[in-house]
C-alpha cells in the first residue's frame, strides 16, 4: 500500500512534488476510498467462485433484504459524523414495526395500513428526538443514553404488542393493503430497494451540499469551534438523532411489509444495531465524529451482506461469518486510528 505517504499532510502546497507518484494519484483521498478496494475484491472473488452470486436474482434478493438496514445505517452515519452514537436504532426498528403491525391489525383495511405506516414512522421520529434531547441538553453520554433508551423501547415494544396479537405468537399483517409496500416491483426492482436508494441519495446530498451537512461535520469535527462559529451544536445533534429515529421507523415498517410479521426478539434488535455500526465503521466513518460519508456506509453494509451471502453460497460454516466480520471491523477501526495518528 502506498497510503502512508498520502495520509501525511503535504508539507507545503507549493512545494514541488519529490515523489515519483503521478500528481493524479496524490489527489486521491486514500482514506475515503479504503473500503472500495476490499469491496471490489470480495465482489470479484465471489463472482468467480460462485456462479449463483452474480445472478440478477441473487443480487436483487441481497439488496431487497438489506434495504431496511441500509436506510438505518445511512441515517445513523449522520449521528456518528455529528459526534454522537445511536445504539437504540435496532430497538426503535422493532418498536415501530410492532406499533405499525398493531394498528394494522386493530384498524384494518387501507385506512389501517396508511395509519400504521404513518404512526410507525412518527414513533421512530419521537424516539430519535428523545435520544437527541437527553444526550445533548441533559448531557448524558449518547452511548449510555441510547443504550438505556433501547432497553426502555424494547420493554415498550412488548407492552404494545399485547394489543396486536391473539394469543401467543407474532403479529401477522399478511394483508395486500399493506404488503404492496414490499411486493411492488417498479422497473423490476423491489420497492424497498427503491426507497433505500432514494433515502441514501437524499441523505448523501444533505450531507454533501447543504448548510446542515456542513454543520454536522463541524459539530463532530470540533464542537467548540463550531459553537464559536455560531452553530447551534446541540440542535444539529438532536436533528441527526431525529433523522436516525425516523429512518429506523421507516425501516421497521418496510421490513414488516416484507416479512410480514413483526419481529419480537431482542436479539434481532441488537443484531441490527451492531450490523449498522459495523457497516458504518467498516465503511471508514470515524467513530470519533467529524469524518465520513453516506456512500461509504452503503459500501460497508453491502460488503458485510456480500460476505454473508458469499459464505452461504460457498457453503462455509456460518460460524466463520462472525469471526471474519469481527476481524474486518478491527482492521477497519485500526486503519482509522492509524491514519488519524499519521496526520498528527
Amino acid at each position: 500500500m502506498t497510503n502512508d505517504t498520502q495520509l501525511a499532510p503535504k508539507p507545503a502546497a507549493s512545494a514541488p512534488s519529490t515523489r515519483s507518484l503521478p500528481a493524479v494519484l496524490k489527489q486521491v483521498p486514500w482514506r475515503s476510498v479504503a473500503i472500495v478496494a476490499p469491496f471490489l475484491a470480495v465482489f470479484i472473488a465471489l463472482a468467480i467462485g460462485s456462479p449463483a452470486f452474480l445472478s440478477a436474482q441473487n443480487i436483487g434478493n441481497v439488496l431487497d433484504r438489506q434495504s431496511g438496514i441500509l436506510i438505518v445505517a445511512a441515517a445513523a452515519t449522520l449521528v456518528l459524523i455529528a459526534g454522537g452514537i445511536d445504539l437504540s436504532v435496532g430497538a426503535t426498528y422493532m418498536f415501530t414495526a410492532v406499533i405499525c403491525g398493531t394498528i394494522i391489525v386493530r384498524v384494518g383495511g387501507e385506512a389501517g395500513a396508511a395509519l400504521g405506516i404513518i404512526v410507525g414512522i412518527l414513533a421512530g421520529l419521537v424516539v430519535g428526538l428523545i435520544n437527541g434531547i437527553i444526550s445533548t441538553y441533559l448531557k448524558i453520554n449518547p452511548l449510555i443514553a441510547t443504550l438505556a433508551m433501547s432497553f426502555i423501547i424494547l420493554g415498550a415494544t412488548k407492552l404494545v404488542s399485547q394489543f396486536g396479537k391473539e394469543g401467543i405468537g407474532q403479529i401477522r399483517v399478511d394483508f395486500p393493503e399493506f404488503r404492496w409496500l414490499a411486493l411492488t416491483k417498479p422497473l423490476g426492482i423491489s420497492l424497498p430497494t427503491w426507497i433505500a436508494f432514494i433515502v441514501i441519495v437524499i441523505l448523501g446530498i444533505v450531507l454533501w451540499r447543504t448548510t446542515f451537512g456542513r454543520y454536522v461535520y463541524a459539530a463532530g469535527g470540533n464542537a467548540e469551534a463550531a459553537r464559536l462559529a455560531g452553530i447551534r451544536v446541540d440542535g444539529v445533534r438532536i436533528a441527526t438523532f431525529a433523522i436516525a429515529g425516523t429512518a429506523a421507523g421507516l425501516a421497521g415498517v418496510i421490513d414488516l411489509a416484507r416479512t410480514p410479521s413483526a419481529p419480537e426478539n431482542d436479539a434481532i434488535a441488537t443484531t441490527l444495531t451492531f450490523t449498522v455500526l459495523a457497516g458504518i465503521v467498516v465503511g471508514g466513518t470515524s467513530i470519533l465524529g467529524g469524518e465520513g460519508a453516506i456512500w461509504r456506509t452503503v459500501l460497508g453494509i453491502l460488503f458485510i451482506a456480500m460476505l454473508y451471502n458469499g459464505f452461504t453460497l460457498l457453503r462455509i460454516d456460518p460460524l466463520f461469518q462472525g469471526i471474519a466480520l469481527g476481524v474486518i471491523i478491527l482492521v477497519a477501526v485500526g486503519f482509522d486510528a492509524w491514519s488519524k495518528f499519521r496526520r498528527r
Binding site: 499532510p9 503535504k10 507545503a12 502546497a13 507549493s14 451540499r209 447543504t210 448548510t211 446542515f212 451537512g213 456542513r214 454543520y215 461535520y217 463541524a218 469535527g221 470540533n222 467548540e224 469551534a225 463550531a226 459553537r227 464559536l228 462559529a229 455560531g230 452553530i231 447551534r232 467529524g290 469524518e291 496526520r343
Partner: protein, 508 residues
C-alpha cells in the same frame, strides 16, 4: 516514609549546564546555566513565554533537554519521566492540583505509597505517618478530611505534604499563590520558608514580583528563552527585575500606527459586565480604534472576550453595539457584527479535518448557501475572495490542517472578514505564528481598523499590544486595573499594572 519529613532532609544540589530546548524547530530555551543551592528559595521570573515553565519541566523530568546537561549532586542525570525525577527527590506542585477529591487528606498524601500490611492499607500506620509529616511542616490539617471539600490553599498543603512524603528535596512551585487569598498567601509563604530552612530547595515560579523579592534568596531572570542573570534577591528591586524581563526595543515588525479619530462613534460599549471570570468590567471601543487587552495568562482577558461575544453566560451588565444592546448568544452577536478569533486555533477555531474552504465559510453559510443549499460556484468564489484578502494561496479544498500556523490564523481572519462587521476581537492572534506571517496578521488587524471597525486585541505579548493598540486596558483578576494611552502607553506601565502585587493592592 515519615522519616523524610523531618528537619534534616537529604540535600540536593541541582545544576544546569548549557541547557537548550526546541519545539518544532523553534528554540524556547538556549544555553541555560543555573545552580540551585540546597536550603534556598530560588525564584524564576520572566514574561509569558520566556521559558520558565519549560525550564522547570526539564528539571522535573516532563521534558528532556535537547542540549546541555542536568547535574544532580554533581552526577549527570537524564530523566525520562516525572517519576524518575521524583525518585531523585524532585517534585512539582503544579498550578492545576492533581489530587483525588474523593479521598481524605492522609490518603492523598500517601497515594501510591500507602503503608500496607499483606496488601491491605494499614490505617493505623497511615495515621501515624501522616501525623509525623503534618507535624514536621506545621500544617494544621485534619488527616481524615475529604480533600474535595478543602480550600485551594489547604489543597496545596496536601500537595506539598505529598511531595515530602515521597522524599522530595527540590520542590518546584508554579504560581503557587495565584489562586490564593492574601491570608492564605501569607501562610504559604511561611511554608516555603520552613521548607528552605529544613534544607530543601524551593524553585519558585511567580508573576508577583513583590512575593519573589520577599521570599527568595536568589532570582533568575529569563527572557526569550535566554538566561539574563541570576542575582541575590536582596540586590534587586521590582524595577530592576522588570527592566531585565523586558529589555528589548520595539522592532519594525509592526505596521505604522495611524491615529484614529478620537471623536469616532462608539462601536462597542460594555457596562458593568459580570460573567464567569469577569467581575464588573466597563469600557468602550470606537470605530477605527484598536484597543489592547493586556495582562497575565489567566487574568480574565479571554473571559471578557467570550462574554462580549455571547459565548459565556452574562450574569450582569450590558454589551451594546452602536448603542443597541446585543443578545447574549453567539448567533446574535455575529448578526450584530461582532466576530471573535479565538485564542486556540486548534481547539476553538478550526475544524481541522475539513477543507480550508469549509472553514472559511463556516460562520457565513447564510450568504454562501441561500436557503440552506450550498452552491459550489458561489462558495468557491466567496472562499477565494476571502482567502485572497488574507493572502492564503493554493487550492482551498485541501485540509486546513495542512497549512502552517500563520496561514491557519489567516483562514480564521478570512472567516471574520465576511458579513457586516462592526467589532473584531482577536485573541492571541499571533500565538504559534512564525515571524514572517506575523506582519501579515498585524497588517490585517490595522487594515480592519482603518475600515472603521472597532478592534479588540488580546495578547500576552506586551510588545504586540504596544505595537498595535491605540489604547491598552490592563486586566487582572477579571477586572480592569489600568488604562493607558498616548504617552502613558509604555511597557513599564503595562507590566507594572499587570504584575502588581495582590497583597499590597488590597491594602491600598
Amino acid at each position: 516514609m515519615p522519616e523524610t519529613a523531618t528537619a534534616d532532609a537529604p540535600q540536593l544540589l541541582v545544576e544546569l549546564r548549557g541547557v537548550g530546548k526546541s519545539f518544532n524547530g523553534l528554540p524556547v530555551l538556549a544555553d541555560i546555566d543555573l545552580t540551585l543551592e540546597p536550603g534556598t528559595v530560588h525564584a524564576l521570573v520572566g514574561e509569558n513565554g520566556a521559558g520558565k515553565s519549560t525550564l522547570s519541566k526539564i528539571i522535573s523530568g516532563v521534558y528532556s533537554a535537547d542540549t546541555g546537561q542536568l547535574l544532580i549532586n554533581g552526577q549527570e542525570a537524564s530523566f525520562g519521566s516525572p517519576r524518575e525525577a521524583l525518585a531523585q527527590g524532585i517534585a512539582t506542585i503544579a498550578q492545576e492540583l492533581a489530587l483525588v477529591p474523593e479521598l481524605t487528606v492522609a490518603e492523598n498524601v500517601f497515594l501510591g505509597s500507602e503503608p500496607r500490611t499483606l496488601g491491605w492499607i494499614n490505617r493505623k500506620k497511615l495515621r501515624a505517618a501522616y501525623a509525623a509529616i503534618a507535624e514536621s511542616t506545621g500544617f494544621d490539617l485534619p488527616g481524615d478530611a475529604v480533600v474535595g471539600g478543602l480550600r485551594t490553599a489547604d489543597q496545596q498543603k496536601v500537595e506539598i505534604m505529598r511531595a515530602l512524603a515521597r522524599g522530595a528535596s527540590l520542590i518546584i512551585m508554579d504560581e503557587p499563590t495565584a489562586a490564593l487569598s492574601a491570608h492564605d498567601t501569607e501562610l504559604l509563604h511561611g511554608v516555603v520558608r520552613r521548607l528552605a530552612a529544613s534544607g530543601r530547595t524551593v524553585l519558585l515560579i511567580s508573576h508577583f514580583l513583590g512575593e519573589v523579592l520577599e521570599l527568595s534568596d536568589s532570582v533568575t531572570i529569563l527572557r526569550d528563552g535566554r538566561h539574563i542573570r541570576t542575582a541575590q534577591a536582596a540586590d534587586e528591586t521590582e524595577s530592576t527585575l522588570i527592566e531585565s524581563m523586558l529589555g528589548r526595543t520595539l522592532g519594525s515588525v509592526f505596521p505604522d500606527k495611524t491615529p484614529h479619530r478620537a471623536d469616532g462613534e462608539v462601536v462597542l460599549s460594555v457596562r458593568d459586565l459580570v460573567a464567569p471570570g469577569v467581575y464588573g468590567v466597563s469600557f468602550d471601543v470606537r470605530a477605527g480604534e484598536i484597543v489592547g487587552l493586556a495582562g497575565l495568562v489567566g487574568a480574565g482577558r479571554s473571559e471578557i472576550a467570550h462574554a462580549v461575544f455571547g459565548a459565556a453566560p452574562r450574569n450582569a451588565g450590558t454589551v451594546a453595539i452602536d448603542g443597541a444592546e446585543t443578545p447574549n448568544t453567539i448567533a446574535g452577536s455575529l448578526k450584530r457584527g461582532i466576530f471573535l478569533i479565538p485564542e486556540s486555533r486548534k481547539d476553538q477555531g478550526l475544524v481541522l479535518g475539513r477543507p480550508i474552504r469549509d472553514n472559511v465559510t463556516l460562520s457565513n453559510m447564510g450568504q454562501v448557501a441561500p436557503r440552506g443549499w450550498v452552491s459550489s460556484g458561489v462558495e468557491r468564489k466567496a472562499s477565494r475572495t476571502m482567502l485572497d484578502r488574507v493572502t492564503v494561496a493554493g487550492d482551498d479544498r485541501r485540509a486546513v490542517s495542512a497549512l502552517s500556523g500563520g496561514n491557519q490564523q489567516k483562514v480564521l481572519f478570512g472567516r471574520a472578514l465576511q458579513g457586516s462587521r462592526r467589532l473584531l476581537i482577536a485573541d492571541e492572534p499571533t500565538r504559534g505564528v512564525d515571524v514572517g506571517s506575523r506582519r501579515a496578521i498585524y497588517d490585517l488587524i490595522v487594515e480592519q481598523a482603518q475600515q472603521g471597525i472597532g478592534v479588540l486585541v488580546i495578547s500576552s505579548d506586551v510588545e504586540e499590544v504596544l505595537g498595535l493598540a491605540h489604547r491598552v486596558l490592563v486586566i487582572r483578576s477579571g477586572q480592569i486595573v489600568g488604562e493607558f494611552a498616548g504617552d502613558q502607553l509604555t511597557e513599564e506601565n503595562i507590566i507594572t499594572a499587570a504584575f502588581a502585587d495582590p497583597i499590597t493592592n488590597e491594602s491600598q
